[in-house]
């Protein structure tokens, strides 16, 4: 569908532009300003150039946090996307089951993030939490406040519990948009369930999966409240992800300059990954005609 060419459409976008300009551009500029200065207090600041960038880039704790973050986000995507798609496939197409599963799926999404952390502290407690007691009851020693591996399992489990429903909801929306004729044609062509998934459902879900992967990547890369409440970044620094480290730096130690430099690097990394994902996913399966269907 060819769109109308009309630059007056800018007037419709203007409110969004202004609003986001206030809430994004001005703070971003400020962060850049902070990143090149040493700030002692109101009106007391010294230009230090790229000092903070040099410091942050050489900070091994940041390198560790970045690696941890990449592993975490990768793990989360690897689990949540296939699981979410599988759930969407299992959901009924019509009837009362649709409303029930939609409502139940959406519940974890509606819980404030620090409450999520709180729930999981309780839920995983080896003495009074359901799952904690269960795991220990199976004879597996499990203690997430002291064992780094257990802490990781807990955080990933929580993240999967919390966000897989979002992927499932998006994938479900994508599935419902496929006209019945496709499934009928597949039956007539004698396609197996796997072939139907591979050649009809998966390609038709591409659009929503782009959104799902991007949203999940961004949000898991920026994750803060849930693991912070649950583990406080520990034991040791084993679950200190980038945002947790950043907040420690900015709020805990009040090192504004390094925190700002850190933020900019952080932002650039997310931007780079998101751009690459966006471009790559747009093109998968469309072959020589990119941009035909967004």
């Amino acid at each position: 569908m060819e769109k109308w060419h009309d630059n007056r459409a800018w007037f419709l976008v203007l409110p969004v532009f202004l609003m986001v300009a206030i809430s994004a551009i001005i703070p971003l500029m400020t962060v850049v300003n902070y990143s090149v200065q040493d700030i002692f207090g109101p009106g007391q600041r010294v230009f230090v150039g790229i000092e903070w960038f040099r410091e942050v880039l050489g900070d091994s704790r940041l390198h560790d946090a970045l690696i941890r973050q990449l592993i975490f986000s990768g793990l989360v995507l690897l689990i949540e996307i296939p699981l979410g798609v599988a759930i969407a496939l299992a959901m009924p197409a019509r009837g009362w089951g649709v409303s029930v599963s939609l409502v139940l799926l959406a519940l974890p999404l509606l819980i404030p993030w620090n409450v999520i952390g709180t729930i999981w502290i309780i839920f995983m407690r080896p003495d009074i939490g359901l799952l904690g007691v269960l795991i220990n009851g199976l004879g597996i020693p499990f203690d997430h406040p002291t064992a780094p591996l257990d802490a990781w399992v807990t955080v990933v489990l929580m993240e999967v519990w919390h966000w897989t429903p979002l992927v499932a909801l998006l994938a479900y929306a994508g599935l419902r948009a496929i006209p019945d004729a496709y499934f009928q044609a597949a039956r007539i062509d004698g396609a197996s369930a796997w072939a139907t998934f591979r050649y009809i459902q998966l390609p038709k879900m591409r659009g929503v999966l782009v959104i799902a992967v991007l949203l999940r990547f961004m949000d898991s890369f920026l994750i803060y409240a849930e693991p912070f409440v649950l583990t406080g970044g520990g034991p040791g620094n084993s679950t200190t992800f980038l945002s947790i480290y950043l907040v420690k730096l900015a709020v805990g130690q009040f090192d504004l300059g390094p925190a700002a430099a850190f933020s900019i690097i952080y932002f650039l990394i997310v931007l780079l990954f998101s751009f690459v994902f966006y471009q790559a996913l747009q093109r998968i399966g469309t072959g020589d005609k990119p941009g035909d269907r967004r």
Binding site: R187, I188, P203, K204, G287, D288
Partner: protein
């Protein structure tokens, strides 16, 4: 290739249908002869697609059985029935090339790659798709996509029948004509049983040897285009086929004539013979083409007033009034139309009598 027998089929989308109105398909018994070209004609929502899906096995009918030749296939899946079906909107596999699209049904059935290749090329040749075989199907035009859907049906040499569900809806008018001719050609070449669903009577009449008219889940009449035109079995068929549709007027019987608005309209002997003792709501019906209009009173002419004249190029439609009723008359372009009053003559051989919408004679 097979003869398809729908034995006492009825279908409802509800689990526990109560009233007649709950049925998308009312009970019917119909045989589709092997190698016939059928058009299934009816307005939107009359159950055409449901009937098609019952044949292809996408829907299990609530009642009755489906036979292919002498085999009961009611409980067989779509795959096992070997049916090809082409849908209203082209269904293609986006990520595949045209070749892979055409090969898909064969590969699913485990054919070896050499015979797949041979068969795909053969079909692509017939459909003039050879040049596009290595292109991605997604980027093609709507008619090429529809040809691919068709090709996927034809590529299996053993299909019992090929079903079309308004396949030309999204095709440009000038390409429609070409594709329709292609269909006709394919039908003659492969001698397939072909069932073609449409709501467009021109398409139905040009494509099919036999036309089946459906209305509100009922199969009203099956016959050649000529049958449907000359002796509609049901008032709906008369009204739906032909342009403009048949004229119908409530009437009473008296002696050898029907009385409409106090005027006598004589009926034929054959009609009268069947009409004796018939009850129910009576109507007479006549095609606008068969009415005679003149300025002077003739024998058995009925006085009417002229309400409107539409000139449609090579013919005219005259709307006349007989009391409360209006009748359309189709006249050749060069025939003079009386100015205000005229007389209508109803030729006996074309005047039909209906009781409760069903043809009496």
């Amino acid at each position: 290739m097979a003869r398809i027998h729908l034995k006492n089929i009825a279908h409802s989308y509800e689990d526990k249908p109560r009233a007649e109105a709950d049925f998308a398909l009312r009970e019917m018994d119909h045989v589709w002869q092997d190698g016939g070209a059928y058009a299934l004609l009816g307005p939107s929502g009359c159950g055409k697609t449901t009937l098609l899906n019952v044949i292809s096995g996408l829907i299990q009918p609530s009642r009755g059985q489906v036979f292919f030749d002498d085999q009961d296939v009611t409980n067989l899946s779509t795959q096992q029935r070997n049916i090809a079906q082409v849908f209203q909107f082209p269904v293609i596999y986006d990520t595949m090339t045209v070749f892979d699209n055409l090969a898909f049904p064969l590969r699913n059935r485990g054919f070896d790659s050499e015979s797949v290749r041979q068969r795909v090329h053969e079909i692509a040749e017939t459909l003039e798709l050879t040049a596009d075989l290595n292109r991605r199907a997604l980027g093609l035009s709507a008619d090429a996509k529809q040809k691919i859907s068709l090709g996927r049906g034809l590529v299996r040499s053993d299909v019992a029948a090929i079903l079309f569900d308004e396949p030309l809806t999204v095709i440009d008018p000038h390409l429609k004509w070409q594709l329709r001719r292609k269909l006709k050609e394919i039908h003659e070449r492969f001698k397939l049983t072909l069932i073609y669903v449409t709501h467009d009577q021109n398409e139905a009449l040009t494509l099919a040897d036999q036309v089946v008219v459906m209305h509100e889940g009922q199969l009203l009449q099956a016959g050649t285009p000529q049958d449907l035109f000359e002796t509609p079995q049901h008032t709906f068929v008369g009204y739906f086929i032909g342009s403009p549709g048949m004229n119908f007027m409530p009437c009473a019987l008296e002696g050898d004539a029907a009385i409409v608005e106090g005027q006598r309209i004589p009926l034929g002997q054959a009609t009268l013979a069947k009409a004796s003792g018939i009850g129910g709501a009576l109507e007479i019906g006549i095609r606008p083409q068969f009415l005679r209009l003149s300025a002077q009173r003739e024998e058995s002419g009925v006085p009417v007033t002229i309400a409107a004249v539409e000139d449609l190029g090579n013919y005219k439609i005259v709307t006349t009034r007989l009391g409360e009723r209006s009748l359309k008359v189709k006249l050749p372009e060069d025939e003079a139309v009386p100015s205000e009053h005229g007389y209508l003559r109803f030729p006996r051989e074309w005047t039909r009598l209906y009781a409760d919408s069903q043809l009496v004679g």
